[in-house]
Structure formats: C-alpha cells, structure tokens
C-alpha cells in the first residue's frame, strides 16, 4: 500500500514539473532557443544520479559496467552541454562597442 501511494506521488511530481516546465520554457526568449536546447540537454543529464548509484553500489560486475557506460554518456552531456551553452550565450551582446569598453 505504501508502495502504490509512492507511485501516485511520483506521478503528481511529474505532472507538476511538466506544467512548471511548460510555463517557464514558454517565456524563454526566441533568440535563445539553441542555447536553451543545449542547456536542457545538460539538465536532463541528471541521469548521472542514477548512473552513479548503479556504477558504485555493490552490484554484479556486468551491471556496474552498464552503469559506468551510462555515467560516461551523462557526464559527456553535462560537460559539453554547460560549456557550449555558456560559449553561445557569451556571444549575445546588445552593442559591441559598449561591451568592449566595459571590458577594458
């Protein structure tokens, strides 16, 4: 019984998170749709959390190996996703001259 209650609470978390996601994403600037995609890529690589447990727990070797490959894949997404998002966002400027002046 406790188990099934937990399923319902997970489902409601999912539904609520989807609505929050829809609300937040809808307001994202159109200019930034490409960086948005690489950012959400990195965020959904939160799968890293599951991979770490499968890789690091006291499970049989082959299972941990699958976990390690998953961990590698998620980590790649996290690193490249955040780095490239930041790289792209740095390029969005209102005025080149003002920006250069601000830096010096």
């Amino acid at each position: 019984m406790k188990q099934s209650l937990d399923y319902w609470s997970m489902l409601s978390v999912f539904i609520l998170a989807t609505f929050i996601g829809l609300g937040v994403i809808r307001r994202v600037s159109r200019l930034l749709h490409t960086p948005l995609m690489s950012l959400t890529n990195a965020i959904s690589a939160i799968a890293v959390v599951g991979s770490i447990i499968v890789t690091g727990a006291d499970y049989p070797g082959p299972i941990r190996f699958l976990g390690a490959v998953a961990l590698f894949a998620s980590m790649t997404n996290i690193v490249s996703g955040f780095l490239i998002t930041d790289r792209m966002l740095k390029m969005f400027k209102t005025d080149r001259k003002k920006d250069e002046g601000g830096k010096s």
Binding site: F14, I25, R26, S29, L32, P60, M75, I84, T94
Partner: protein, 469 residues
C-alpha cells in the same frame, strides 16, 4: 541522517534547475542560468556520490574523467555544427537511460524479483524503448546533419513504410506487456533484448524518411524523448529529482517542437510520418522559368541607396559560413545610414534558434534580430530584402498555391519589399526540392554564387576607396 541531506540536496537542485531555465527568458540574465544549472548538478552529483550504498569509486572516477575527455572537445565545435552536436547529445542521453533501465532489470531479476512490480516494469519498458530509440534516432539525425556519406541526406521512403514502423512499435509494446505481466518467467530474460533490438531499429527507421527541412522539429522531438526517458528512469529508481529535471527537458522539447510545427503549418504526425517533398517531382517539370541575374556592382548601388534593408538568413548562410561577411556588410551599410534588420524565421537553419546563434557569433547585436511576426508588417516599407541562403521560408507559394507542399506555412514576406536580392549557390531548387516563386518575381534579382563570396564582393564594393566611384 545522510538520507535527509541527500533528499534536501535534491530539492535544492530542483529549485536551481527551475531558476536556471527561468533566467533563459532574456539574454541579459541567461548566463546566470548556466551557473545555476552547474551548481545544481554539482549539488546533485555530490549528494549522490556521498550516499553509503556507493561503495566502489574506481569506475565512477574513470567514467567521469572519460566524460570530461569527450565532453570538452564536443563543446568546442564550430557553431555551424551545433545541430549535430545537439543531436549527438540526445543520443547520449537516450543511451544512458536505456543502459540504466537494462542494468536495473537484470539486477532485480537476479536478486530481489519482488522489486519487479508491474508499475516498475512499465516504467522500465518505457525507459528502454524511449532511451534506445532516442539513441539510434539521434545518431541518425546527427549523421544526416553532419552529412556522413553512408547516411542518405534526402528522405528515404519505401512502400508500407509507416505500416512497418507502427508494426515494429506494436510488437515491442506487446512484448513489453508480456514482460510487465511476467517479469521473471524463464523466457523473460530472453525477450528483454528483443525489445531493445526493436527500439534500436525503430529509432533508425523513424529518422530515415526525414529530410533536412524537418530537422528543427525532429531535433526538438528527440530532445523531448531524451527528457522523458530520464523521467521514466526516475520512476524506476524512485528518484524525484530525475523526474523533475527530466520533465523540464521533456516540456522544453515539446514546446520547441510545437513552435517548429506551427512555423511550418504541419502537425507532429505529419513531420514524423509524412516524408516531405514527395509530391513535388511531378510538378518541377513543366514550364521553364527565367531567373534575372544582377551584378555585384548594381546590387551594391541599390543597397547603398536604400533606407531599410532586411537580411533574411537561412541554412545556406550556415553552409557557406557567411555570417562574418554578413556582419561586414551590416557595418558598411550602417555607416551609410542604412537601417539593417535581420528577419529570422523560426525554422531557418537546422535547429531552433540556429540563425540567432550564428549571427551573434559574428558580433551582430541581438537587438537587430527580429522575428517573422515583428518584421512582416514592416516589409512593405523595406527597400531591399536580401535573402542569404534561405529558400522555403520566403516562398510566396506558401500563401496561395494549394498544391505546394509548403502551402499554409507562415513565411517572411520578402516579396513585399520594393526590391529583392536572393543569393543562391546554384539554379537548383532548395532542400525540399520546391521551386521558389520569389526568385521569378519581377522585382527579384538573383546573385548567383557562394554566399560568403557574394557578400564579400558586395562589401568590397561598398568599402570607401575601392570599387565605387
């Protein structure tokens, strides 16, 4: 105690992820969003790693190091290659979900079959189907975008294609249902790989019929799948952080896909199951139309005398890497007091927002990048519309030609400008294989050649002290 800290960290991470996306609503705050995302990820990884059930650390360190080794170079690709990189990272996301689902199933099968409840089994089946189909589907999409030789660029179609695809998916669902009912029967461990194989195959077959013009939508849909597979992983692992972060990604992909579909006046089903450009070849033959070509000198003179120039970039600009030359042209025209705006169609390029990133890379202020809805009312006042490698998004046939495959698609009204210059590599029709009426209009003049070269020449003409007299 440690569980309390872990759960609390997950809540902090969830909140930071929401803020991260919230800050993407304006370019001024967007970079803060990245920092919030990184912070959330560090908190989540740290808390998970600190859990007592994690007892082996060697492989974790190796996998994380390998992730850095591959991830850093992947983040340095040229911006024209961003669509491929994005597709590739969807593939990685799908793979991770698929592998964790597989690992968990065999783990529970071996020790603790009571864990394979129907609910968990449903979640595992959804996780592996979505995960593995996203994996191969995204790899195919990345291959098409990278123009890998052995992956056909043009849509590949064959008789009963959709029937085959749906039948495959149907078989996977039937096997999945059997596994939900009997997760630990003697035949179950054998059927499980069958689902994996079907999902992998389905991913390939789903992308084969899709052409370049549909890539923005398809990438967005794959983005959504990658998020949903993370959600399914969250259900399998009882982890609410995975569910929320996955749902954020899933809804982001969904919204982008809806925007792309609206911008093409097509439905999801139509993008996924109705290979584009199939009706066309019969029509392409027929009356022969004439292009009017203009010289660089003539075009430069007209540009110079304009007061409002609207530049409409498309995928051709990315291919020719012409964005920096476009910036030089923008500078020269601005020096002469010409107002220059960039009109960005939502599906211009190969992924959502592709053109904005390329123009921002070339140092063009984002305040000059205007959406289709904003620019269209001004188009009749526009002296020159300069089309740089865009095609279908400026084709007036979308407005009136019911037989055209792009009929009903909202377009940038380039044809309402007083003069239109279109830069085009060759006289062949565009990616979708559709003739563009705009090129044959009375006020349209073609500038044939590579976009980078043509714009470079225009800049030379406009640069004081050379060419012009």
């Amino acid at each position: 105690m440690i569980q309390g800290i872990v759960q609390f960290s997950y809540i902090v991470a969830t909140a930071l992820f929401v803020f991260s996306l919230h800050w993407m609503n304006a370019p001024q705050t967007a970079r803060r969003g990245v920092f919030a995302g990184v912070a959330a990820m560090l908190v989540a990884v740290g808390a998970t790693w600190a859990q007592p059930e994690v007892v082996h650390h060697g492989w974790i360190v190796v996998a994380i190091a390998a992730g850095f080794l591959v991830g850093v170079p992947l983040s340095r690709v040229p911006l024209t290659a961003v669509p491929q990189r994005t597709a590739l990272s969807h593939a990685f996301g799908g793979l991770a979900a698929g592998l964790v689902g597989t690992a968990k199933y065999y783990l529970w099968l071996g020790e603790g079959q009571e864990n394979l409840t129907p609910f968990r089994m449903i979640a595992i089946i959804i996780e592996i189907i979505l995960g593995y189909l996203t994996f191969t589907g995204s790899l195919m999409a990345a291959g098409k975008l990278q123009e890998v030789k052995w992956i056909p660029q043009r849509p590949v179609t064959y008789p009963l294609q959709n029937v085959t695809n749906i039948a495959l998916l149907g078989i996977a669902v039937v096997i999945g249902t059997a596994l939900v009912i009997q997760p630990a029967a003697p035949w179950s461990p054998m059927l499980f790989p069958a689902i994996i194989a079907l999902a992998l195959l389905f991913g390939v077959l789903l992308i084969i019929p899709i052409g370049g013009a549909d890539m923005p939508t398809v990438i967005a849909i794959l983005n959504s799948y990658a998020g949903l597979s993370a959600v399914a992983m969250g259900f399998v692992l009882d982890n609410k952080l995975l569910i929320t972060a996955g749902a954020l990604d899933g809804s982001s992909g969904l919204i982008l896909a809806v925007i792309m579909c609206k911008a093409m006046n097509r439905s999801f089903a139509n993008v996924l199951f109705g290979a584009f450009g199939q009706v066309q070849p019969a029509k392409a033959i027929g009356e022969e139309k004439l292009y009017k070509a203009e010289t660089i000198e003539g075009a430069a003179q007209i540009l110079e005398q304009a007061s409002l120039v609207v530049i409409i970039p498309g995928y051709g600009m990315a291919v020719a890497q012409a964005q920096h030359k476009v910036r030089e042209l923008y500078d020269q025209l601005r020096k002469r007091g010409v107002t220059v705006k960039f009109a960005i169609h939502p599906v211009a390029g190969r992924m959502p927002g592709h053109m904005n990133v390329l123009l921002a890379e070339a140092d063009i202020p984002y305040t000059e990048l205007v959406t289709m809805e904003e620019i269209n009312p001004d188009m009749p006042q526009c002296d020159v519309a300069l089309v740089v490698g865009a095609n279908d998004v400026v084709n007036p046939a979308a407005r009136h030609d019911k037989s055209s495959p792009i009929y009903g698609m909202p377009i940038i009204d380039a044809d309402k400008a007083r003069t239109v210059f279109a830069i085009k590599r060759s006289k062949r029709p565009g990616f979708a294989g559709i003739d563009n009426e705009l090129y044959f209009a009375d006020k349209t003049w073609m500038l044939f050649g590579d976009a980078k070269h043509v714009i470079g020449e225009l800049v030379k003409q406009l640069t004081p002290g050379s060419g012009m007299h």
